[in-house]
Each structure stands twice: as C-alpha cells, then as structure tokens.
Amino acid sequence: MNCDECKEQLFELIEREAVDPGGVRAILARCPDCRAAFDEMKAALAVAGQLPIEEPSAAVDAAVVRAASERLPRVVPLRKRRLQPPPWAMAAIALLAVGVGVWSIPREVQLEGDVGSADLKSAAAPVVAEQELDEVAAEALDDSAALAELGEVASERTAHLGRAPRTEARAKRASSKPVPAKRRSRLAAGKKEDAQAPASLSAADVAAGSAEETRSYGAASEPLAAQKQQQDDDGGATADCRRKVDDIERRARKDKDYAPQPEEELAIGKCYQMLDNVAEARKWLKRAAAHRKTKARAEAALRELTPE
C-alpha cells in the first residue's frame, strides 16, 4: 500500500470499514504526511459531530399525528372486524342474492323448453373456433325477424352481460336452420384435431356450443323474453347498481382494510335510492356528503329523497 491508497482509506479506517486496516495503520506509523491527514480528518469528524440538532415544533408534530389518525379507516379490533363484515358489504350480498335469484329462474324454464342441457354439453365438448361459430350463427340470424325485435334493448343489455343473451338467441334461432354445406365443411375441417368431433354439425349444435361457452363465463344467460321483461322492470339501472356493488364487494374481499371511497359511497346511496330503500340511501348519501368531492351530488340526491 502506498500513501495515496492509505489516504483514500483514512475515512474508512475511522469508520472501521477499511479494506486493509493493518496496512493503513502501518503507513500512518511511518509517514508523517499520512498521519497529519488522518488527524485532520478525525478532527473534522469531531467538529462535525457538534452540528446542532434542532427539534420540529410541537404544533407540526401534532398536525402530523392528527393527519395520521384521520387516515385510519376505523379503530376496531382486527378480530372483531373479521367477524363482523361492514354493513355495506352485507347490503351488497343481499342485493346480489336477489339479483341472482331473479336471473336464474327464467333461464331454467327456457332451457327446459329449448335445447337440452345434454345437447348443449355435447355440442360444447368439441372446441370450435369461436369466430367461426359466431359467423355461422350470425348468418342464421341475419334474416331473422327476431334480430330486429332485439333492437336496442338487447344491445344495451349485452353491454353489461357479456355476449350471453345474443349467443343464446343465436342458438335458439339457428336450431331451425341448417348450416350451409360450405360452412359445415369449414367447421368440420377446423375440428379435425378433435377425435370426438362429429363429422357434421347442425347449426343448432354449433350455436348451442357457443351459448354453452358463454354460459361458462359465469354471465347470466337468461332468455330474451325474461330479459326484456326485466329490462322493462328496472330499466337496466338495477343491473348497473348490482354491478357497482358487486365490484365494491369484490375489492372488499381482496383487501380486508378496504373502505369505500366517497364516489362509491355515493354510488351505493344512489342504488338504494333507486331501489326505494330510503333509510339505507340516506345513510350512504350522508356519508358521501361528508366528503368535499361528493358533497354537492350527495346533497342533491338527499334532497330528492322523501323527508325523514
């Protein structure tokens, strides 16, 4: 080790992090320049140690602690929180249960009178390219009067139900029409790899397979009549509500500390308002009104409620 290397390690020696402390000490013992540099650095550290330490004011600390306490969602023991789901989650579950009930009943009725579930499963087994299926079914539908009947109602509905009603309708209508020979051969070619695939398919099989596939997505695939009826009943708004509440509930499941944001509180309040549950609506809207961001809208909604 030479003097330059020694000087580079002076600080490390003081901080007890020198790579070669023995070597540095040996040079310090014989080199007056290195020794002087070492003394100076040590003295500088000693002086720097006298850097005055100041304290923040108590008011600032108090403001910090206040902000920290405001951030806490709720000071409830964790065990209790786990046992008692928050009321909004209970409301969301209740809404979901009602929604699922309403949607499932007419679907079962329709399935019994339409394509058998066994047929659906057998058609769904061979996985056919989805676009091909849709093309075939759409062709079968093109000239159908039912398509016009669907109109805006169906398109709006499918926007939040996925493709389920549309494909279900296709399955129904395609069952009465044969698939053109050219298309049949294309479909069959597409399924060559599947040993179980039938040599030829009826349009009903194809479209029903598509319907089964969409049903497996978990979206409710109710018959058009029931769908339309419900559409008339609630104007699509309750479905929106359900979706919002469902979304909030899903997030609550993922994060146990999750608390609804002001916008979500407002949305839940409006949902209850739409469902004529005035008490719940008032409760949630009042919560939303406590936040500056949603105050105006929440208060406007509160004014629309019947007085207490």
């Binding site: 600080f11 490390e12 850097l51 923040p56 910090v64 602690v65 969602p73 964790l78 500390d257």
Partner: protein, 195 residues
C-alpha cells in the same frame, strides 16, 4: 423485551394502531427534521417539508412492502421532497449558497462560514454550532446529503447508497470530500485529537 422494529410499527399503524405511528415519529422526528433543515436552510420550509414527508408516509404506508428498511424508505421520501423543493427554489431564482457572489466572487456558504468570529470569541457553543451548521449547509448537495445521512441517522454506507441511488464506494468518496471541505472551512475550530 426489545423494542419493535420500524417495519413492525408501520405494519401496526396500518392495522389501526396510532400509538405505533407516534413511536415511529418519535424515533425519526429529530434526524429527519435536521436532514430537511440543513437541506432547505430555512426552518419554516424545513417544517413544511417535514410535514410533507410524514404525510407521504401516511398516504403511502400501504405501498411499503418491506423490501427495503423503513429508514431507507423514509429518507428516500425526504430526499425526493428536498430535491423537488430545491428545483422550485432554483426556478424562483433564489441565491444558491454554492454560487459565487457578485460582490466577492466567493460562494455565500464559504463566506458565511469563513468570516465568522474566532474560536475564542465564540465562547457560546451556540455560535460554534451555528458556524458548523452554515458550513454543512454550504456543502454541495450530493456531499451534504451523504454527510447528513451518515452523521444524523448513522445509516450504513450501503443504505445511504440505496437512498441516494449510487454505489457504496461513491457514497464513501462523497463523505470523504464533505469532510475535507468541512475540515478546510472549520479548521480554526479544530483541536488536535489523539489517534
């Protein structure tokens, strides 16, 4: 029983334990405030920054995953806020202590620290402390932050390297330069020390 670690305290705060947050605040309030004070060079601004740092801790405590130490995370927040603040100050045209003064051609930081009264005259330790503080404030930003992190919080060089985003060797070099500069500026205050 040993004190809970910083990370455990933060986790407790996330679960709703305000006392845990207060304990964390108690541990770091002094070092963080002084780090900010020597960086901002103004008590009022330092208090604003101090509040901002803890607000960020409150806001982002859910994002802290424990990959780094809490102190590293905290000082990274503080340092970033200091950098933002210094950018704003530059934009507003405040005089830098490092910039040569038009009258003397010497940086303000050096002028303030060099032309003070002698050690004998600085009988009151407060004035000595003031001189040291000015000298530290006059250090270049990258040297000052390393010096403060080491001196105030006693962070390891590796941890300082994480906060600052450079290698540990660079941190050591900066620390050495900072000490040399302080030694030069405050030489009249130094007393001989034994090995």
């Amino acid at each position: 029983m040993s004190d809970p670690g910083d990370e455990a305290l933060l986790a407790a705060y996330r679960e709703g334990d305000l006392a845990a947050f207060e304990m964390l605040l108690g541990r770091y309030r002094g070092p963080i405030f002084n780090f900010l004070l020597r960086s901002a060079r103004d008590r009022g601004r330092a208090e604003e920054l101090y509040q901002d740092v803890w607000m960020k801790v409150v806001e982002r405590c859910d994002e802290f995953r424990g990959d780094a130490k809490f102190s590293t995370w905290l000082y990274t927040i503080a340092r970033n806020l200091c950098i933002d603040h210094q950018r704003k100050m530059k934009f507003r045209g405040h005089a830098s202590l490092d910039a040569p003064q038009p009258s003397s051609g010497q940086p303000l930081g050096e002028r303030v620290s060099s032309f003070g009264p002698s050690t004998e005259q600085l009988a009151a330790g407060r004035l000595v402390g003031e001189r040291i503080a000015r000298a530290v404030e006059g250090l270049p930003d990258e040297q000052r932050e390393v010096f403060l992190l080491r001196q105030l919080q006693g962070l390891a060089f590796k941890e300082i390297a994480e906060v600052v985003g450079v290698s540990a060797n660079t941190v050591k070099s900066r620390m050495r330069y900072a000490l040399e500069r302080l030694q030069h500026t405050l030489s009249d205050l130094e007393e001989p020390h034994e090995l």
